[in-house]
């Protein structure tokens, strides 16, 4: 019994609901939500270190033993993601607190941001397929509200699409759960894994696994990313950063969990399909990132490319590639938050959304300009920053698995990332100064602080990789050896 496991999900809920009572006091809303997420972050770091020293932890809700009750299972993979997600949400909340969007704040911006993180953390921690669905819904309901909060025309247009596509995918998810419960009679993930292993994953189960692949691909933006660029572009900065950092990652997490713990017996079918989907995603995302001049679109397509890249690691399906994918997942949570905060700040400062409309920003905002440059290097996977170890390991892993096409496309997509963003940097930050000093909108310290912290983190994560590596190798080890997870997640072998 490890009651501490419930706090990453329950604290944001309690804080979010509690903040509903303080609607009129903006400062309680702002700082209360930041305090709650800071507490969640420290608790999740504590759990992470405990998991590394004492092994996987489990909490049975209401003391109903698995596979009958709902369980939360914390392995290193889940806890790494919970920690990174909580950290990035602190910084997005900080940005929102200084952006002072008073209209949205009045309509419960912070409670919904907190509920969103509660759903995200719950999805990472749960050890039950139906509970995963519930946590997805908590996250999605909060995201529907955040999507349409403010009621701008573009938000509503994109919001309707976003809600429809997610309701469809939730329905398919429920259908998949019904199928799997009908065939195997359980929904506890560890128990499912055992029963699938006993049955040897016959074609029927492989078909169900492909239904899950479709569902999670819709959430993650793997091939089925058509809804993503428009909707992420319509949001206010802090919310779009949180969406870009977290929402697709939950889909990616679910894909990793299902295709390493449950459906790992037919990699020739499932993982090959994932590989081709990853290739298609990277190519499509790269085309999108290069095709547009709207910087929000470019940033959104960068999210798509990264999803393809991480799934390339899953497709290669060996220890190295999985380890690389975990590094990249952590890096991407931080750096996509950073990218969207930076892009949002550029739009706030210039009022322009196309990169050929402004130039010479580096004279106006020198610190911000160089931070944006670091972001680009980090996204492109240039060595001292956090994108590098993930890229190199995924590359090595896919070559070791004989997936040469995958490796080639993955590295080509990195070039597309670098090109698409360097283009923004060259034309917006270099060249003739187009905004005179007396006309320039000041970027306050409060807005720059979260961006600076994230920039330092991406540099620090790259340089301090040794600190992180025991956690990541433990996480990859558990993913590649499902019996480790099953032994801890179930009381006794069934």
């Amino acid at each position: 019994m490890n009651n501490i496991l419930v706090f990453p999900m329950i604290l944001p809920i309690v804080a979010g609901v509690g903040l509903l009572f303080f609607r009129t006091s903006r400062s309680i809303q702002r700082w209360g939500s930041i305090a709650a997420m800071t507490a969640v972050f420290s608790i999740s770091l504590f759990i992470l270190t405990t998991v590394l020293s004492d092994g996987i932890m489990r909490l049975d809700f209401g003391e109903w033993l698995p596979p009958f009750g709902i369980t939360f299972v914390a392995d290193a993979f889940a806890m790494l993601l919970v920690s990174a997600a909580s950290l990035v949400s602190i910084l997005c909340l900080l940005y929102a607190a200084f952006a002072r969007d008073e209209q949205r704040e009045h309509f419960f911006l912070y409670p919904f941001l907190l509920l969103l993180t509660a759903g995200v953390n719950g999805s990472f921690l749960t050890g039950d397929l139906f509970n995963l669905f519930v946590c997805f819904e908590v996250m999605l309901l909060a995201s529907y509200v955040l999507m349409t909060l403010g009621g701008e025309r573009r938000q509503l247009v994109e919001g309707v699409k976003y809600i429809l596509i997610n309701i469809l995918s939730s329905w398919l998810f429920l259908l998949g759960i019904a199928y799997i419960y009908g065939t195997l009679g359980t929904l506890n993930m560890a128990h499912l894994s055992l029963r699938i292993a006993e049955a040897g994953q016959p074609p029927l189960l492989t078909t169900i696994s492909i239904l899950f692949l479709v569902v999670f691909s819709l959430k993650a933006g793997l091939v089925l990313y058509f809804w993503l660029p428009g909707s992420y572009g319509a949001l206010p900065t802090a919310v779009s950063a949180l969406f870009a950092a977290l929402l697709t990652k939950v889909g990616v997490y679910a894909l990793f969990r299902t295709f390493t713990l449950l459906f790992y017996h037919e990699p020739n079918i499932t993982h090959t399909i994932i590989g081709w989907m990853a290739v298609a995603t990277m190519i499509g995302g790269s085309i999108g990132a290069i095709a547009y001049k709207d910087i929000r679109k470019i940033a959104s397509y960068n999210v798509v490319i990264a999803v393809g890249f991480m799934l390339a690691g899953l497709a290669a399906f060996n220890l190295e590639a999985i380890e690389g994918a975990i590094y990249y997942l952590l890096h991407d949570i931080l750096v996509k938050g950073l990218l969207f905060l930076s892009i949002g700040s550029i739009i706030y400062a210039t009022g322009k959304t196309r990169f050929d409309e402004v130039s010479g920003l580096i004279v106006n905002y020198p610190l911000f300009g160089w931070m944006f440059f670091v972001t680009i290097l980090s996204l492109g996977g240039i060595p001292p920053f956090s994108g590098f170890p993930g890229k190199i390991l995924i590359g090595q892993g896919s070559i070791a698995a004989g997936e040469y096409v995958l490796a080639a496309v993955a590295f080509a997509s990195s070039l597309a990332v670098l090109y698409s963003l360097i283009r923004i940097f060259l034309s917006m930050f270099w060249g003739e100064m187009s905004i005179r000093r007396k006309d320039q909108v000041p970027l306050t310290k409060g807005r720059l602080a979260p961006i600076l912290i994230l920039t330092l983190l991406t540099a620090g994560l790259g340089l301090g990789m040794n600190l992180l590596s025991p956690y990541v190798s433990e996480a990859a080890n558990v993913l590649m050896n499902p019996e480790l997870y099953i032994n801890k997640a179930l009381n006794k072998p069934f």
Partner: protein, 140 residues
């Protein structure tokens, strides 16, 4: 032009109490039979909705001065806090317990902590349903 809704209002005044009683009955029955916080809460909120339909929003709000958003939030907080209450006794999150007491008038009665959790659910449901209905009816 004002519609003549004397019959609706007269029936509602009585029916509301029947619905409320039935809602409470369903809520308490839920421990062993079909019913419970969610269903009880839905039935209770249907009484409020009936009031809103037969009288106008201002009259009902003047009669029952409740902020339903805060009611919903209170409900959720109660539910979560009863879940956390078990932590104080060293049990897992959401653990529930029950015992038998000899109460005057009722005799031997089963009292369960899950009633508190369900009360939170019921309040949450009432708050959310009434908020949705009044928001839809309100001007955009």
């Amino acid at each position: 032009m004002r519609e003549n809704d004397v019959i609706l209002q007269t029936v509602s005044k009585i029916a509301v109490f029947i619905i409320l009683t039935f809602g409470v009955y369903l809520f308490l029955a839920g421990h062993h039979h079909p019913g419970g916080g969610f269903i009880g809460g839905l039935t209770l909120s249907s009484a409020f909705v009936l009031l809103y339909l037969s009288f106008d929003v201002e009259t009902v709000n003047a009669g029952i001065p409740l902020d339903y958003r805060k009611l919903a939030a209170t409900g959720v907080l109660i539910s979560v806090c009863t879940g956390m209450g078990s932590l104080l006794f060293g049990s897992a999150f959401l653990s529930q317990t029950f015992a038998y007491f000899n109460l005057p008038l009722f005799g031997k009665t089963e009292l369960a902590t899950v009633v508190l959790f369900e009360a939170g659910v019921a309040l949450g449901v009432i708050g959310v349903v009434v908020t949705i209905i009044t928001s839809i009816s309100g001007e955009v």
